[in-house]
Symmetry: C2
Subunit: 207 residues, 2 copies
DNA sequence: GTCTATAACGAGATAGAC
DNA sequence: GTCTATCTCGTTATAGAC
């Protein structure tokens, strides 16, 4: 179920689909209306009928992306109460983006932050806040019920998870090695998990 | 002591200084020769005398940045044998970049990866590899001598550190809240440290 | 809603004088 | 090394016909 954001024409939706892919692969400053025009098969002028300015298109992209993400988090909440399951499902959201050869839309826009309109900047900030709030609740409950182990505040732990996953996507793409994401994510969750099984290479402190 | 990379004119060096700041704040696709021209006070045409193409300028930027980073790592190695000190000094390198209101050059370029020349892509990859190699040695020794605690391979742990710090810079800048970096970095090192002191909010597993 | 046509500007890059 | 002048192309955006 889509979250608000109202009705849009099918053409507008296809424009957003194409633009989203372009931003996630090339950045907001790395594509133009001409790229969308070529892929969609309508003229640049027609694009301006649906989204008058590129900034307006950008704002819509972030809003739609955030709404879809929030929907995905709600769906995860509906899958049960296990905090560890929720965390794994959350990581899988990122993995799905990466598997499609994309960067997180808002991670990409965070890099380009200084070149964006005020509105886009605010929306990007809001995306990260929404993620952190959800994760903070998950890890807080997980610690309370003994599933997870970490020190300090739940919000800080949630923020570490967000930044580490965003960075893992960033570097994995920058190196052309998606596996770097998987390894980093697995290790992140491992550190949060209580009674994780011993792994090859593990050593105890000096005897 | 500078690492190789040879002699360059003073003007070329000033061009690189200005371009570096522009890339770190706005991205490689977010600035133009006109920006450098305005800040340096020479014409765009003159810039092309020093760096024939923007791609060439970009490649020089990464090379110089990597060399400076490698030099900084060598300097840290000269400060003693403490792994924990090395890690703190490493984090401080990132903090210094962020304090100057910049993103890591190669983190920024990692986001723009798909729009870069082959050469620039390769150089970015090389930057991350160099960082990981150094960090892997540090954490491996730290674990061997009992200073640090982590499971799995040292290389994987090094990679987690790199991606988490890059992501922390990315999101901190994307939210306009540098403190997000500091908190994430502190927590990262805390998880690696043996016998870290109890902190407010810490809880042990269910009794 | 989509088109043609075009405006208005900025980009990277080059030629050739000094 | 730096300049003026210019080229060519791509960019966002608009006007007005269909």
């Amino acid at each position: 179920m889509a979250t608000g954001s109202g009705a849009r024409s099918k053409t507008a939706e296809r424009i957003l689909d194409i633009a989203e892919r372009l931003v996630q692969t090339r950045g907001f400053n790395g594509f133009s209306y001409a790229d969308i025009s070529a892929q969609l098969g309508i003229t640049k002028a027609s694009l301006h009928y649906h989204f008058a300015t590129k900034d307006e298109l950008g704002a819509m992209l972030i809003t739609r992306y955030r709404d879809a993400f929030v929907d995905a988090l709600r769906a995860i909440d509906g899958e049960g109460e296990s905090s560890l399951h929720k965390l794994n499902a959350y990581v899988k959201l990122y993995e799905d983006v990466l598997r499609r050869d994309r960067m997180c839309l808002c991670g990409m826009l965070a890099a380009e932050n200084r070149t964006l309109s005020r509105e886009m900047q605010t929306l990007v900030h809001g995306f990260f806040d929404a993620n952190e709030r959800w994760l903070a609740t998950v890890v807080d409950r997980g610690r309370a019920n003994g599933e997870l182990r970490f020190s300090g505040s739940a919000v800080d732990q949630a923020r570490l998870l967000v930044v580490a996953l965003e960075g893992a996507m960033l570097v994995a793409r920058g190196c052309g090695e998606p596996a770097r994401f998987t390894v980093a994510a697995a290790r992140l969750l491992d550190q949060l998990t209580i009674a994780s099984p011993p792994r090859a290479g593990r050593r105890s402190r000096a005897p």
